[in-house]
Structure formats: C-alpha cells, structure tokens
C-alpha cells in the first residue's frame, strides 16, 4: 500500500507538470493584450518597460519556468514565513495578478472561505441526504419511495444548476421574501441574529448544489446496494437468523459503501468546477466567480493559477479515491 501510494505520488508530478504546460500554452495563445487598456499617448519605449514590468518580455519557456518556480518554491516559502514568522522568502517575487497588482494567493485566500462554506456545506448536505435515500430505494426497490426518489434524482441531474438557482430566487426571494437572493460576504457572524442571517443567505445556494450532488450519489448508492443485496452472504446472514437491521445496515451497507466512498472522493473537485455557475447565480464572490472575472479581464496569472489549483484538486482526489479503495476493500491489492 505504502509503495503504491509513493509510486502514485511520484507519477502525479509529471502529470501535473504536463497539465501546467497545457494550460500555460493555451493561455500563451491569448490574443488579449494586458496593455490594451493603456492610453495611446504612452510612448512605445515606456510601454515596452511596462510590459517587462509585467514579466512579458521573456520567451515563453523562461516565463513558464519562472511561474513554476514561483508556484512551487516562492509561494510555500511565504506561507511558512506567515505561519512561523521566519524569513525564507526574503522578499522574492510572488505571482502577481495583472488586474489588482496584488499577489494572486492573497486574493485566493480571501475568496476561499466563501467557496468552502457554500460548496463544502452543500456537498456534505448532499452526501448526508443521498446515502439514506439510496439505501431505502434499494431495499424497497420499485416501491413508491423508490420511484419518487428515481424521479427526483433524474430531475436533480437533468435540471442545470443555473435554472434551479434562478427558479428558487424567483419563488423564495421575489415572491415569498424568505431568503436574500444575493450572498453578502461582508456579514460577520457575531451573535444569534447574524448567525440566522448567515444561515438564510446560505440556504438557497447550498440547496441547489446539494440537490445536484445528492441526485448523483444516491443513484450510485442505490445501484451498489442492489448489487450487494443479491449476494450469497446476505442469504447466509439471514439464514443465521440475524435481524433485517443488522443484515442491511451492517453487512450490506458496509460492503456497498466501498464504491460509493470513492465516487464521493472523485466528486469533490467536480464540485469546485460546478460551483462556478452557482456562485455566479447567487453572486457569491468565491473562487469560481474570481475565475470568471479573471477570464473576462485577461488576467493571465490569476487564470493560470486558479485552473492549476483545480487540476491539483482533481489529481489529488483521484489519488485519494484509489487509496481509499485499497484500504476499504481488502480484496484489492495494488502491489
């Protein structure tokens, strides 16, 4: 197991480097010039200096190496400095956003809590909803509950999140006025009233994403439970006189969870991607919204860094899913 993990970790380094290269070269083709907005009265030699100040003077491979160096060496140094008060970085150049002229990671750090709160919460809610629904649907296959569950989960992954979101806004904030339609980031939770306010503004985005996630995970849960319910060991367990509760919730559930846990792990990075749309609908200023603004503004370092972080998440959670599968299922041996 350990050697497998180490081998996979080592393999993910060239994968990530390749992905970084692909993203970098794609952005290199960008026709948009970050200097396009500058007044035409600036003399050309000054313009050239400004381009160099943005780091655009060198050929692409130098800049790619520089970006890698900044991402993997300089930025972690700054984090360590901030944590322990050391001085490893010694004022080295960080990755700077074209738009705000501030370090990219500072902006990401400001936006991360909103995304984690809304998106993370919705994923947790989705999983908590999906597992019991999947269990009951499978145990009472073709019952009314199963049919309604199937219909709702079909709707859940057919209706795009931007439509569910907009529909909820029309119903619950325009007509009923229960929830605010815009997520207020400046709200600080200090007392009971502001906590209730926070809950109310989180309700709709969390519900939209949770419905979408629960729809997919409950289908996997149901299929996996159905696979296991037909197995011989279930008949044996029943024949030994165990109660239904023990059979279903101990024997079958534990075995059915193995593939579902990996599906849950694999879904985490996709949630961050899907959140781009939901954040746009509810005006949550999280990572997804940051990416959209950066794309529209030709902010190449920001787009590059954010996309690469998404890629790291995907590779990381693929690895976690594989390892979990090996840990949970003793029949799987990687070595």
């Amino acid at each position: 197991m350990l050697t497998f993990t180490i081998r996979r970790l080592l393999l993910s380094i060239p994968t990530l480097l390749f992905i970084a290269l692909v993203i970098f070269l794609l952005l290199e083709l960008a026709p948009g010039d970050p200097m396009a907005e500058m007044p035409l009265t600036i003399p050309p030699e000054v313009k050239e200096k400004m381009r160099e100040a943005l780091g655009l003077g060198q050929p692409w491979y130098v800049r790619f190496y520089l970006w890698l160096y900044q991402f993997f060496i300089v930025e972690p140094q700054y984090w360590i400095d901030a944590l322990f008060g050391t001085d490893f970085a010694q004022g080295a150049q960080r990755i700077i956003s074209f738009q705000s002229r501030s370090p990219v990671f500072d902006t990401i750090g400001e936006r991360l809590p909103q995304t984690l709160w809304v998106v993370g919460m919705s994923y947790v809610v989705g999983v908590i909803l999906a597992i019991p629904i999947g269990i009951i649907s499978a145990y009472r296959q073709y019952s009314i509950f199963d049919q309604i569950g199937t219909l709702i989960s079909m709707i859940g992954f057919s209706v795009p999140t931007f439509f569910t979101g907009v529909l909820l806004i029309v119903i619950f904030s325009v007509h009923l006025g229960w929830f605010p339609s815009i997520y207020d980031t400046t709200l600080e939770v200090t007392d009971w009233t502001s906590f209730k306010m926070q809950l109310r503004q989180m309700a709709m985005p969390v519900f939209v994403l949770a419905l979408y996630n629960a729809a997919q995970i409950s289908r996997y849960m149901r299929a996996s439970m159905l696979d296991n319910l037909g197995q011989d060991y279930v008949r044996t367990a029943r024949a030994k006189g165990m109660t239904e509760k023990v059979v279903v919730l101990k024997h079958v559930l534990r075995n059915s969870m193995i593939p579902v846990v990996t599906v849950i792990a694999l879904g985490v990075p996709q949630v961050f991607g899907g959140a781009i749309i939901t954040e746009q609908v509810f005006k949550v200023n999280g990572l997804g919204q940051l990416l959209i603004v950066a794309i529209h503004g030709n902010d190449i370092p920001m787009v590059m860094t954010l996309t690469f972080i998404f890629a790291i998440l995907i590779v990381l959670f693929n690895l976690i899913a594989d390892i979990l599968y090996g840990v949970l299922d003793p029949r799987i041996r990687y070595d």
């Binding site: 692909v22 794609l26 079909m154 781009i276 746009q280 890629a311």
Partner: protein, 311 residues
Amino acid sequence: MTDTTSVQRVRSQWWDVWDQFKTHKGAMIGLAFLIFITLFVLLGPYIWRIDATALDIRNKDLRPFYVGFFSDVKWSWSHPLGTDNLGRDILANLIQGGQISLAVGWTAMVISLVLGTFIGVLAGYFRALDGLLMRFTDLVLALPLLPLLLVMMLLFRDPLRAAFGPETGIFILIVTGIGITSWMHTARIVRGDVLAIKEREFVLAARSIGTPSRRMITRHLLPNVMSPIMVSATLGLASAIITESALSFLGLGFPSDFPTWGKILFDSVARMAVFPERVIWPGLCISLTVLSVNYIGDGLRDALDPRIRGL
C-alpha cells in the same frame, strides 16, 4: 417438431430492443417529448411567422396571456408568451433558440462520439497504442474542463468570428470545444468492450480467413460495441446541451443577437423579479429536453442489456 411452426418472420435484434424499450414508461414519454420539441423548433418558424430578432418597440414588455387573464397587465394575443424589453417576441425566440441549442447539442455529441469511438477502438485493438492512448485519456480527464472551456471560448472567439462570420464561427468553436472535452468516457467504455470482444471466437475465425484490420474493425468490432456507444450518445447529448447553455449563461457563448435557450435565460436574469416568465420558459425547455434525453438513455440501457431483454 414440424416445419410449419418454426417458420417465422426474420427479426433483427433491433426489434427486440424496441419491444423492450417500449415497456419503459419514462423512456417512451421522454422520446415523445424529444420528438415534440424537435418538431416544435423545426416546424415552429413556418407556423409562428414572427421574426425572432424583429423589434416591435410599441409592444415591448408584454406579459404572457396566462398572467393577463388574472391580473391587469399589458398583454396581447399577437404575442402569447409576451415580449422582451426591445419588443422581441418570446415564443419566436424560444423556437429560434431551440434550433441553435439542439443543433449544438447534436453536433457536439456526434463529434465527441466519433473521437471517443476512434480512440477507444484504436486503444483496444492495437496493443501497441493502448498504453499511450489510455495515458493520454487519463491526462485529459485530469484537466479542469469547465475552466479550460471558458478560456478556450475567450481565446478563439475573435479569430473564428473573423474567419467564419459571427454565428458560424461561434458555433464551430462551441461544438468543437464541447466535443474535444467530453470524449474520454466513451473512449474508455469502447476500449473495454473491444478488449473483451477481441478475444471471442468469431474474431479469431475472421482473422483466420485473413480479414484485414480495417475490415475487422468496421464489420466485426464496431457493430458489437454499438449498444454502449448509443447509451453514451444520450448522455453526451444531455451534457452537451447543458454545457452550451452554461457557457451562454456565463456570458461566453453566442453573441446576444443569436438567441439560444441559455442565452435568453442569461439575458433575462437581471429583470427576473418583474418578468419571471422570460427565465422560466427557456429554463423549462432546457430542463425538459435534458430530462427526456436522460430518460431515453435509461430506457436504452435497459433495452440493450441482453440479461434483462429476455425477461
């Protein structure tokens, strides 16, 4: 055993599949709705003869008829679903938008299927290519696709518009973008099936009479992997329609004078408090189309599974 009873009309397996498909209620409703919406957008312009882009500024901001019945608002039978803030007819926009949305969905799906099948068959049939192609597939799967698609839209929008004109250029861009970011699952499934079929006796028999690789693939392998390809076609169609509308919704799809369902929705979000119908109708069109395609996929999966079909 007499000869008279064994004479039967020759049935192809597709009739069996159809018989099984008919028993899936959701899939039949889905198929009916898909046919309906396709006819609606194809024949709609011949019946509803208002130009989608025609401005009728005197009749702007009309409400739909069902709102007009119950409250005192501006509405008219000449625009049953109302008009937008420039007086463009919403029904005509839905028809025109549906044409583009469905065209994008089908074309992108075909591109991703062709790519996926091609790569899957190559990887499954030629052992020398297998490792390389599957590593490549894994790499593409590890890319953050939606952000990259957004970046691609932004990068290639202007050159393609200049080369092919605004509508065709964006169409080509969106369709290729979705196509080349969604072939991986098809490729994996097809490869797996080809690997299994390659070991069967009829392939050995075909090889022993000297069938060349090209004919082996087209005559023996492809017909046998049709069923997983068809199932992933329905999934591909559904996700292509959603991706296109999501791109339009994020403001990176078609320009605003070419309505698609996602684009109409996006343009109407700012005033949805006053005119909710402008958001709900295109959203319903997208959702119901995708829902029916997903149900068709569900029914197809059951119908094409020989273990269930016999029952």
